[in-house]
C-alpha cells in the first residue's frame, strides 16, 4: 500500500502535464468546440509519445494509464483519452487506431467522438465488437456539452468480435475510463470555481469566505477525492466488475453534484463562453449519463456483489 506516486509515475505525470500545458487548456477546448472538431493534433502527439499505450507497457499498467487519463481530462484535452488508453488495451489487449469511440449496440443516442473516430468499440451484451468506421457513417449532432457528438446514419457493420465475454470486459473498462475522465473534469471545475469565489467580492468580502459557500465546495472536494481513489484502486485491480461500477457510480453521482454547485456558485458568469467553467461542467453532463449513468452503474455494482454469486469483487 503506497498512495503517493513513485518516481516513474511522477515522471510520467510531469511529462504528460508539460505536454498538456502547451497543447491543451480551456482556450483550445473552446476554439475546437467552435469548429466542431476533436483535437486530432493532440491525439496524435499523445499517441506518438506513448501516453496512450501505457497500460500495456511492461513497466507500467492500468493505474498509470488512469493517472494519464485524469490529467488529460483535467487539462480539457479533446481526445479519446479513456477509450484509447484504458478501454482499447483492456478489451482488445492492444492499442487501436484513434480516436476510439464507444457505444452500446442499438443505441440511437449521440455517441462522443463518433463522427471523428476511426475505431468503434461496440458493447453487444456478451460480446464486444471492433468496427472500423467508414467516413460518413456518423453525422454530427449539435450540442453544447463541449464534446463532439455523432449519431449513426444507417446500419453499422458488425465488425470483428473480440470474443465471448468481451462485452463485460468492455463495460468494466468503460466504467473505469468514464470515472477517470470525470475525476479530471470535476477537479478542473472545482479549481476554477475556487478561483472564482476567491476573487469575486460581494457585500465587501470574497464570496468564498461565506460559510454557506465554503461547506458546499468542501463537500464537493470530498466527493472528488473519493472518486479519484476509487477509480485508481479499480484500475490497479484490473477493473473487476464491482469495483469498476462502484467507481463509475460514485463519480457519476458526484459529477451531478459538481455540475450543480459549480454552476450555482459562479453566478451568471459561469454560464458564459468567456468563463472557463463550462468546458468542464458541461462535459460532466455528458460523462455522467454515458453507459446508463449512475443508476445503471449502481445496479451493476450491486448485482456483482450481492446477486451474481457474490464474487464480483
Amino acid at each position: 500500500m503506497d498512495l503517493a506516486p513513485n518516481e516513474e509515475q511522477q515522471a510520467i505525470l510531469d511529462a504528460v502535464e508539460s505536454l498538456l500545458g502547451q497543447r491543451a487548456g480551456a482556450a483550445r477546448a473552446i476554439e475546437l468546440d467552435r469548429l466542431g472538431e476533436a483535437d486530432a493534433d493532440l491525439q496524435a502527439e499523445l499517441d506518438q509519445s506513448g501516453f496512450l499505450d501505457i497500460a500495456l507497457d511492461d513497466e507500467m499498467g492500468f493505474l498509470e494509464a488512469v493517472l494519464v487519463v485524469e490529467a488529460i481530462s483535467q487539462a480539457g484535452g479533446l481526445v479519446t483519452a479513456g477509450a484509447s488508453a484504458l478501454v482499447a488495451p483492456g478489451v482488445a489487449g492492444e492499442s487501436l487506431p484513434g480516436p476510439v469511440a464507444l457505444m452500446q449496440a442499438g443505441d440511437k443516442g449521440p455517441v462522443r467522438y463518433a463522427a471523428q473516430a476511426r475505431t468503434l468499440l461496440v458493447d453487444a451484451g456478451d460480446e464486444a465488437f471492433r468496427v472500423e468506421i467508414e467516413p460518413g457513417a456518423f453525422e454530427v449532432v449539435t450540442s453544447n456539452v463541449m464534446f463532439p457528438l455523432g449519431r449513426a446514419v444507417g446500419e453499422l457493420p458488425d465488425g470483428d468480435s473480440l470474443g465471448a465475454g468481451s462485452g463485460a470486459l468492455l463495460r468494466n473498462w468503460w466504467r473505469v475510463a468514464l470515472a477517470a475522465e470525470m475525476v479530471g473534469a470535476m477537479q478542473a471545475a472545482l479549481d476554477v470555481t475556487v478561483e472564482f469565489v476567491t476573487g469575486r467580492r460581494q457585500f465587501g468580502r470574497a464570496i468564498g469566505s461565506f460559510q454557506a459557500v465554503q461547506h458546499r465546495l468542501a463537500t464537493c472536494a470530498v466527493l472528488v477525492e473519493g472518486s479519484r481513489w476509487l477509480v485508481r484502486e479499480a484500475a490497479f485491480r484490473g477493473a473487476p466488475p464491482e469495483a469498476a461500477a462502484t467507481a463509475a457510480g460514485h463519480a457519476a453521482a458526484a459529477a451531478g453534484r459538481l455540475f450543480e454547485e459549480t454552476q450555482q456558485l459562479t453566478g451568471a458568469m459561469g454560464y458564459t463562453r468567456e468563463h472557463d467553467l463550462h468546458v468542464w461542467s458541461m462535459r460532466l453532463q455528458a460523462l455522467r449519463l454515458e453507459l446508463g449513468g449512475a443508476g445503471e452503474h449502481r445496479r451493476a455494482a450491486a448485482r456483482a456483489r450481492w446477486l451474481d454469486g457474490g464474487s464480483g469483487a
Binding site: A206, S209, V213, H215, E225, G226, E233, G249, H297
Partner: protein, 381 residues
Amino acid sequence: MEFSWLEADLTFRRELIDFLQRTLPEEWDEMAKDGPGGDAQATYSREFCAALAEHGWLTQHWPKEYGGKDATPWRHAIVGEEMWKVGEPRGAQYMNVNWVGPTIMKYGTEEQKALHLPLISSGNVLWCQGFSEPEAGSDLVALRTLALREGDHYVVNGSKIWTSYVNHADYCFLVARSDPESKRHQGITVLLLPMDLDGIEVREIPSVVGERYFHEVFFTDVRVPVSCRLGPENAGWDVVTYSLAYERVGAARYARAVLTLDALAEHARERGLLEDPTVLERLSEAREVCEMARLLTYRVIDLRAKDSSPTADTNVARVAGTMAERAVSELALAVFGTDALVYGNFGESYFRMAMTAGVATGTTEVNLNLVASRFLGLPRE
C-alpha cells in the same frame, strides 16, 4: 502508488481474525450492544486487551524502547479495522494505544513513562478524555475548568461533559486552565489525573444512544500532585494538539459499515427486496461511500506512514466517514421499515450507534471548515 497489502500483513490479518474467533466469548454480541462504554464491554476489555498484549498486538506500532515492535501504521490500521468489525472489544483502550500512550512518550517525564506505558501496553488500564465542557464544545479553547497551583499540587475545580468511558476509567487525560487570567490557547495545562482522587463525581447523562454513553464529571477541590502534569505548565495546548494529531486516524467505522451493508443486503434478500432496482441502487450508493471512506482513511494512514505532519486530508477522511455511516443508517431504515423502531433490532442498533458520527471527535461542520480553509485554500474574509 499501488494498492496491494504486503504478504506479511495479509497473514497477520488472518491470524488476528482467527484470534478473534477463538477469543471472543459466545455472549459477545450481547455484551457489545451498548458500545465500548457499556459496562460489560468495559470490564471485558481488560481481559481481552491483556490477551491481545500477550500476542504482542496491542501496541505493536509503538517504538521498541517502549515495548512496541515499531510496526507500521498499516499494521495498526489492520488491528483497528478488525476490532471495529466485531464491535471494538478493546473497549476504551483503543484510545490508550492510539494517542494517550504516544502523547506520554513525547511529553512525559521518565517517571510518568515508567508508570503509564507498561500499564497501557499490558492492556489493563482504562483512560478517558476530559476535553469537552458545557461551554467548550467545538470551540475547545473556551474551556474553563481550573487547575490552580498550590505548592506541589494543582487544585482542580470545574466540570467536563460527554466524557466517554469515565465511569470505568482509572485515569483521565484532563485539559484545564492553570492561569485563571489567561485566554484561549494560553494558560492551559494537561494533567494525567487518577480517577480515585477525592472530589470527583461522575453523573450519567441519560441519552437515546445507549446506556452509559454520556457523562458529566464534576471536580471539586481535587488535589492533584504536580507530578501528574504532562508537559509544561500553561503551555499545554501544544500537548493537546499533539494528542489530537494522533487521533487523526480515528476509529475504522467504515469497516463496520461495510460489513453491516452486507448483512443488510442479506436481510433485504430475505424480505424479497433485492429484486427491487431502487434497493440495489441504494445498496450500491452506500457501498460507494463506505469504500470512499476506506480509501480516504488509507490516504491519511499513508501520510502517517511517511511521517508527514498532519494535513487536511484528515478532515476530508472524517467527513467521508460520517457520510458512510449516514448512508448505511438510511439503508438500515429502508430495509427494516418500522421494525427498525424496536430497540435491539439490527437496523435500530446500527443507526443508534452511527447517529453520533457527525459530532463525536469533532463535528462535520468543523471538519468542513478546515477542508475549506486548508484543503481548498478558501479565504477567511
